[in-house]
């Protein structure tokens, strides 16, 4: 007996039904992970380091929507392995919730998405989701201890380099760790000056720029890597500007709001550096 041919109306009904099921899944996912979203929004609001988180989620959703044709379910391609991955993620979520570790709970959220995508759309779906999943990882706050471990060496690097450049330019100073002693004043390089704050945001923006303007994944990866030295260099320049302003004009650029404006200007400069790097990389992007 021949298989019944789906009529246009039955296809539409099936699609609507699938959309409802999918919408229900998304809704229940958001509700189950609501405490995590709450915690993340608080971090994004309170910390200058993660304010880019507000843009990451809509951007990730946009990229998924843009690539929606790639998520056509192919029964042959689905991976049941996605089910234990999703279950493991939810187990981690429960553990993270009891131990109140937001980072672990947020990682479980991303892992759950990996498991769900592979279960429903196969590994091809996961491959298509690599970029939005990477973006979601960038919205997750580092544990405070790890953050400190990363910023301490960066602070020292920024202090050393800025002090060396200032001395080379003729400014008499003495550097004592993260303290730079000028004749009239002492500048302290604190965590916020280490460059890590702009680094995370710059990596996110470089990833977005690379994704939308370059075709080859290798070149996109190189562009993201170039964000690291760009962020550190512009922070060295920022500290150097502060030292020069103090020494030559007795002007304190560490006071607000000048300090924030200066930070914004150098961040934009870093973005221009990354854009220039993209301009070079695009020549190999065939």
């Amino acid at each position: 007996m021949a298989e019944p041919v789906p009529t246009p109306s039955s296809t539409v009904r099936r699609d609507r039904g699938n959309l409802l099921f999918f919408g229900l899944l998304v809704g229940v996912f958001v509700a189950a992970y609501f405490p995590v979203w709450q915690g993340l929004v608080m971090v994004w609001s309170d910390s200058g380091d993660y304010s880019h988180g507000f843009f990451v989620v809509p951007l990730a959703i946009y990229v998924w929507w843009r690539n929606r044709a790639a998520f056509r379910h192919d029964p042959g391609a689905s991976a049941w392995l996605g089910l234990p991955v999703a279950a493991l993620a939810l187990g981690l979520y429960l553990l993270a919730h009891l131990t109140e570790i937001l980072t672990l709970a947020s990682l479980s959220l991303v892992l759950f998405l990996v498991g769900t995508i592979s279960l429903l759309f196969g590994w091809r779906g996961v491959r298509q989701s690599l970029f939005p999943l990477f973006l979601l990882l960038l919205m997750i706050p580092f544990p405070a201890q790890l953050y400190s471990e990363l910023t301490i060496p960066l602070q020292l690097l920024v202090s050393k380099a800025a002090a060396a450049l200032a001395q080379w330019g003729g400014i008499p100073l003495v550097r004592d760790g993260n303290l730079i002693h000028l004749p009239q004043h002492t500048v302290e390089i604190i965590q916020a000056c280490s460059g890590l704050r702009s680094l995370i945001s710059l990596v996110a923006l470089s990833a977005v720029l690379g994704y939308f303007t370059l075709k080859r994944n290798t070149l996109r990866f190189v562009l993201v890597l170039l964000a690291l030295p760009a962020a550190i260099c512009v922070n060295i320049v920022r500290v150097l500007i502060i030292l020069v302003a103090f020494y030559n004009w007795q002007t304190d650029l560490t006071l607000e709001p000048i300090h924030t404006v200066l930070g914004l200007v150098v961040f934009i400069f870093a973005l221009l550096l990354v854009s220039a790097a993209r301009g070079v990389l695009v020549r190999w992007d065939r």
């Binding site: 379910h73 029964p75 429960l94 009891l98 201890q145 400190s148 993260n178 303290l179």
Partner: protein, 232 residues
């Protein structure tokens, strides 16, 4: 939407609902409030005299969400140590920004010679597991020893503390926890001399502090005012 396996969607929905039930119906954390304040409990440490006590500003108390705290200096006639304890009635406030690796560099201190150690204060009790370092700021150098207390257990890091509190929560046990920091100004002495002073202090201080951590009563949680006194 294309073809979508509704069976798999239903499986995921069931998993999410089960997890949601676990999340939103977790057992209420037990909050324990001791019958005396830290300041009263640690006013007398055998062999050590309380030299001075200082208060944190209300802003800092609020930022750290402290339920009680003590900031004091003690001397045995030979050496002097500074003690800081930040105390919490419940596990909900674990990680409220006490880790010196986070706080010290942010205030301009440089950290070096970071190590971990174990000290037995009482043979019948678990040893104190601590982290230690030398902190420098301008010309000042301090030997700093600290640990994270979870009920009657010590840990050199917050993760171990959180895991201990999680186990206690599953067993419906008390969630009282604290951060303890003992420091000694090096003043030209080597770190070994300071460490001996700190060790001598901890051997006398810890049994008193352990008794305090074991006190429990179930009352409505209060907040600490600027002097560290628990107020209703």
């Amino acid at each position: 939407m294309g073809s979508l396996s509704r069976v798999r969607v239903v499986i995921l929905l069931l998993l999410l609902v089960a997890t949601g039930i676990g999340i939103y119906r977790e057992p209420a954390a037990t909050e324990h409030e001791p019958t005396t304040s830290l300041a009263t409990a640690l006013a007398h440490i055998p062999g050590w005299e309380l030299v001075s006590r200082s208060a944190l500003s209300p802003k800092i108390v609020a930022a750290l969400k402290l339920d009680d705290y003590l900031q004091a200096r003690y001397s045995d006639g030979h050496g002097e140590v500074a003690l800081y304890i930040g105390y919490y009635n419940s596990a909900g406030k674990v990680g409220a920004a006490h880790d010196p690796l986070v706080c010290f560099p942010g205030q301009g201190w440089q950290l070096q010679d970071r190590t971990q150690g174990i000290l037995t204060a009482q043979p019948s009790e678990r040893p104190v597991r601590y982290a230690a370092m030398i902190a420098s700021h301008d010309a000042e150098q301090q030997r700093v020893v600290y640990w994270f207390q979870a009920a009657d257990r010590t840990a050199p890091d917050t993760l171990s503390q959180k895991l201990t509190l999680w186990r206690r929560r599953l067993a419906n046990q008390g969630q009282a926890n604290a951060f303890v920091r003992v420091s000694c100004a090096m003043n030209g002495f080597g770190p070994g001399t300071c460490q001996e002073t700190i060790d001598a202090f901890i051997r006398r201080f810890y049994p008193v502090f352990l008794d305090y951590m074991r006190q429990s009563s179930t009352k409505r949680v209060a907040t600490a005012n600027a002097n560290g006194r628990i107020i209703q």
